[in-house]
């Protein structure tokens, strides 16, 4: 199943399929390692539900849901 990263629930894992969006934000997502093939794991959500914290490439990254919405992920069980 494929869905965008902002729709993940805590503990879900997946493989990045595609990064949408443009310019600065997309480049930043790439630079931080969110590229097709990267494994991501949703570790936590902030107290107000946004932003979210993910584990990828062995480190912790936080991003807002609006930015996470640019990331299409294939969910893994």
């Amino acid at each position: 199943m494929e869905k965008t990263l902002d729709n993940f629930s805590i503990g879900e894992k997946g493989i990045v399929k595609m990064v949408l969006g443009e310019g600065k934000i997309k480049r930043r997502l790439f630079d931080m390692g969110i590229t097709p093939g990267a494994e991501v794991f949703l570790r936590k959500k902030a107290p107000l539900g946004d932003p979210i914290e993910i584990t990828l490439r062995g480190y912790e990254l936080t991003l807002r849901k609006t930015e996470a919405a640019c990331v299409k992920v294939e969910v893994q069980s």
């Binding site: 894992k13 595609m18 990064v19 600065k24 934000i25 997309k26 480049r27 930043r28 997502l29 790439f30 630079d31 931080m32 390692g33 590229t35 097709p36 093939g37 990267a38 494994e39 794991f41 570790r43 936590k44 959500k45 902030a46 107290p47 107000l48 539900g49 946004d50 932003p51 914290e53 584990t55 490439r57 062995g58 480190y59 912790e60 990254l61 936080t62 991003l63 807002r64 930015e67």
Partner: protein, 768 residues
């Protein structure tokens, strides 16, 4: 001297390495045109001394952030003799991403594999030899923290710096390899330096490169047409980033052998995070930590021991003489940390510094000057102008440093990033990111460290907006104004409650800040809410050495300011209050004849809508003078009150009825001024509001100037403070005096908001 540049990701231990290498030789400045720290120092243990340049911490060499641009331009334009790329061994993949970009430049590179101790501790291992083979440049295992491997690193770098290295790319074997190779050959034909780096960036459609090589661009576009990728289409930026990471995972990651494969396993840091960013406990814990910091810095009753155990004051113990002064030196020292309550370390340091060191020193120096037999005006200038000015500025040092120490601990430990994570949602409503919270809250202590702290904000517009509203978070020095005026209102008019008035003024400041941020973000500082894609670094214990290096930097910075701009301004204000228009020297009591009083009387009508202008009659200028004196340091407002009240009494023959106008809390002085001028309650409240929101003290103004960088932004900031304070005070005075004027203000606000919305809509249309 040879120059080596340090480059690496944020949090990779770059600062620690820099401090270990350069020791006390470090020098901090700003990169020209931007406010990113530029640090350099000298390493002396090589065959010859080497200059080390600390480049800003970066993740990539994209054209989007000032830090990345600085690093990139430094290596390309200044051509250092070697680049030392620090790689966090615990986070190999993402760190190597930057390495692959640096390797594309024609510069000798040495990779420093940092935090190897942490890797070994977790049971993993890294094959440094294999990594060196694959990268094609020397790799040295180091621990910046334990200072191991540094000598070997520097020797290798020194060796490399004698060689000439041509850039290499991991993209060569990717589908893009041919394309990049062709562009590189074309650029080389034009004698472009670093052809490979520029070729890759041109293929990436990097804005800066596209402008630099306009003539080559059509050719690159032509080349690109022959290339099509199924997944990315024509998005070459995505292709390049993807190719880099693909190469890293398949070639470099194999260098690392992990003990356990499970990435979801909980580390110590994760366990700490489980509590500190917990859904329910996260915010309360943060509030407790914040309260703790302020309590330890400004609390006069540590842990409320004094209240709880009703500890006796020094007076109760019979340790003070009739004048209320300590009876001997021992008691004086005791008084710095105890008086009916144990004082917090911050207050204790402050007292020792101000009462025992700065106070004593300038008291002694002042005595010498007084006995020197100079003209009275010269003595006045030196003692009241220069010395008082310097000691006023120096008195800021302890709270600034203590507050800064705590915030540096939060920053270095990795908790600061979590605070941004917790609070981002709330701040986004105002067009700011969660990171803006820290500088704002620091403003309650002192605006100076708060403004310096805005450096953690990535977006320039967000930064400007934050620097501008920081003074509205009423600082420690403004509190005496609030308590004095509030106390006088209660004592003189017999209405209200002093604590409630003081607290409401704090609230007013916060509300003003929010309104102003919203206004600025939708007009002059418009821009999308900056993206919030941030690494949450692993928690670690802050390094004492690093903290001290931070503090030393700040001290140097601040003291330098104190002896230049702030000192000059103090002397000017002193001269204006102590000379009359025909240049005769005036005693303190004759301030009503001074140039400043003359100017104040002239501009007095301007303050009429604020309640402390013409309606106060011929003596009303005193409030204007007090406000102007507050521009040096807000402490001066109350000090000026005492001087002016004495002077008013002398001029009018006012019966002070036993008011102690020189009392420290200033309540009586304000009462005397109320009596003499007949100012109303709304006028008084407007006066404190004006002092709270107008141009802050010189120290803060000087900091704002340094932090904003851009001259015109700085000038508009001064205008902004004047307009904001004027409008806020006018609203308070008019609504307080005639309640129905609130409707006029509401209509005006509605009109303004409507105008802004319409203008923004129009602008949006034009864009479409």
């Amino acid at each position: 001297m040879k120059r080596f540049a340090l480059a690496g990701n944020p949090n990779c231990g770059k600062t620690t390495l820099f401090n270990s290498l350069t020791g006390s030789t470090a020098h901090v400045g700003n990169w020209p045109g931007v406010t990113v720290d530029k640090r350099d120092g000298v390493y002396k243990k090589c065959a010859e001394p080497v200059k080390i340049i600390d480049l800003p911490g970066i993740y990539s060499l994209s054209p989007y952030t000032p830090e990345e641009l600085i690093a990139r331009n430094y290596i390309l334009d200044e051509k250092p003799d070697c680049v030392i790329n620090i790689v966090d061994a615990t986070n190999l993949e993402r760190n190597l991403y930057l390495t692959t970009q640096i390797l594309e430049m024609d510069v000798p590179v040495v990779v420093a594999l940092n935090m190897m101790d942490a890797v070994k501790k977790s049971g993993d291992s890294i094959n440094a030899k294999l990594l060196e083979e694959r990268l094609g440049v020397p790799v040295v295992e180091i621990s910046a923290l334990k200072e191991t491997g540094l000598k070997e690193l520097m020797d290798k770098a020194f060796n490399e710096s004698k060689k000439i290295r041509e850039g290499s790319t991991v993209l060569e074997t990717s589908p893009l390899g041919h394309l990049i190779g062709d562009v590189k050959i074309a650029l080389k034909g034009q004698n472009v330096a670093n052809p490979l780096f520029h070729a890759v960036k041109l293929v990436e459609q990097d804005e800066i490169e596209a402008n630099m090589h306009k003539e080559t661009l059509p050719m690159v576009e032509e080349f690109k047409k022959t290339f099509n990728d199924e997944i990315f289409g024509g998005d070459f930026e995505a292709l390049v980033a993807d190719a880099r990471y693909k190469y890293i995972s398949s070639n470099f990651a194999s260098v690392l052998s992990k003990k356990s494969k499970d990435t979801t396993k909980m580390s110590k840091s994760d366990k700490a995070d489980k509590v500190l960013t917990h859904k329910w406990w996260g915010i309360p814990i943060f509030l407790v930590i914040l309260f703790g910091i302020f309590h330890l810095t400004f609390g006069e009753d540590l842990l409320f021991l004094g209240k709880i155990f009703s500890l006796p004051s020094l007076e109760d113990l019979g340790l003070l003489n009739e004048d209320g002064d300590p009876i001997n030196f021992g008691v004086r020292i005791l008084a710095t940390f105890y008086d009916g309550a144990v004082m917090s370390p911050g207050v204790w340091i402050n007292n020792v510094w101000n009462d025992l060191i700065v106070g004593e020193f300038f008291g002694w120096l002042g005595g010498l000057v007084e006995e020197s037999g100079m003209a009275p005006w010269a003595i006045g200038l030196i003692n009241n102008g220069i010395f008082d000015g310097i000691s006023a500025v120096l008195s800021f040092l302890p709270p600034i440093l203590v507050l800064f120490l705590f915030f540096s601990i939060l920053e270095d430990s990795g908790y600061m990033a979590r605070i941004a994570f917790i609070l981002d949602r709330m701040f986004r409503r105002f067009g700011l990111s969660g990171r803006a919270f820290m500088p704002m809250i620091m403003g309650f202590g002192c605006s100076v460290p708060a403004m310096i702290n805005t450096r953690t904000l990535a977006d320039d517009k967000e930064r400007t907006a934050t620097v501008r509203v920081i003074p509205f978070f009423s600082c420690g020095a403004k509190l005496p104004i609030l308590t004095a005026v509030a106390g006088a209102i209660v004592a003189f008019f017999g209405v209200g409650n002093a604590d409630v008035i003081t607290f409401s003024m704090y609230l007013l400041g916060i509300v003003t800040a929010i309104v102003c941020v919203l206004l600025m973000r939708s007009t002059t500082l418009k821009g999308e809410t900056p993206p919030f894609i941030m690494e949450l670094p692993t928690y670690h214990v802050p390094q004492f050495k690093n903290l001290m290096a931070h503090l030393w930097d700040k001290t140097k910075h601040f003291v330098k300011k104190a002896f230049t701009i702030i000192l000059a301004s103090t002397i000017v204000i002193w001269a204006l209050t102590h000379f009359s228009f025909n240049w005769t020297f005036l005693e303190d009591e004759q301030v009503n004849e001074s140039i400043l009083a003359g100017i104040a009387q002239l501009v007095q009508p301007i303050f009429t809508p604020l309640g402390f202008g013409s309606q106060l009659g011929s003596l009303g200028w005193v409030f204007v003078v007090a406000a102007v004196a507050g521009l040096i340091a807000k402490e001066n407002v109350i000090a000026t009150f005492a001087t002016l009240a004495a002077c008013l009494a002398a001029v009018t023959g006012l019966d002070l009825g036993g008011l102690a106008i020189d009392a420290e809390d200033g309540i009586d002085a304000v009462q005397a001024m109320i009596q003499a001028t007949g100012i109303t309650i709304p006028g008084l409240i407007a006066f404190i509001a004006f002092n709270m929101t107008t141009i802050p003290c010189f120290a803060a103004v000087a900091t704002a100037k340094a932090e904003l960088g851009n001259k015109s932004t700085y000038h508009w900031t001064l205008v902004f403070w004047l307009v904001a304070s004027y409008v806020v005070s006018a609203i308070i005075y008019t609504v307080g005096s005639w309640w129905w004027t609130i409707f006029i203000w509401m209509v005006a606000c509605a009109g303004l908001v409507a105008c802004i919305i319409m203008r923004n809509k129009k602008a949006a249309k034009r864009l479409n």
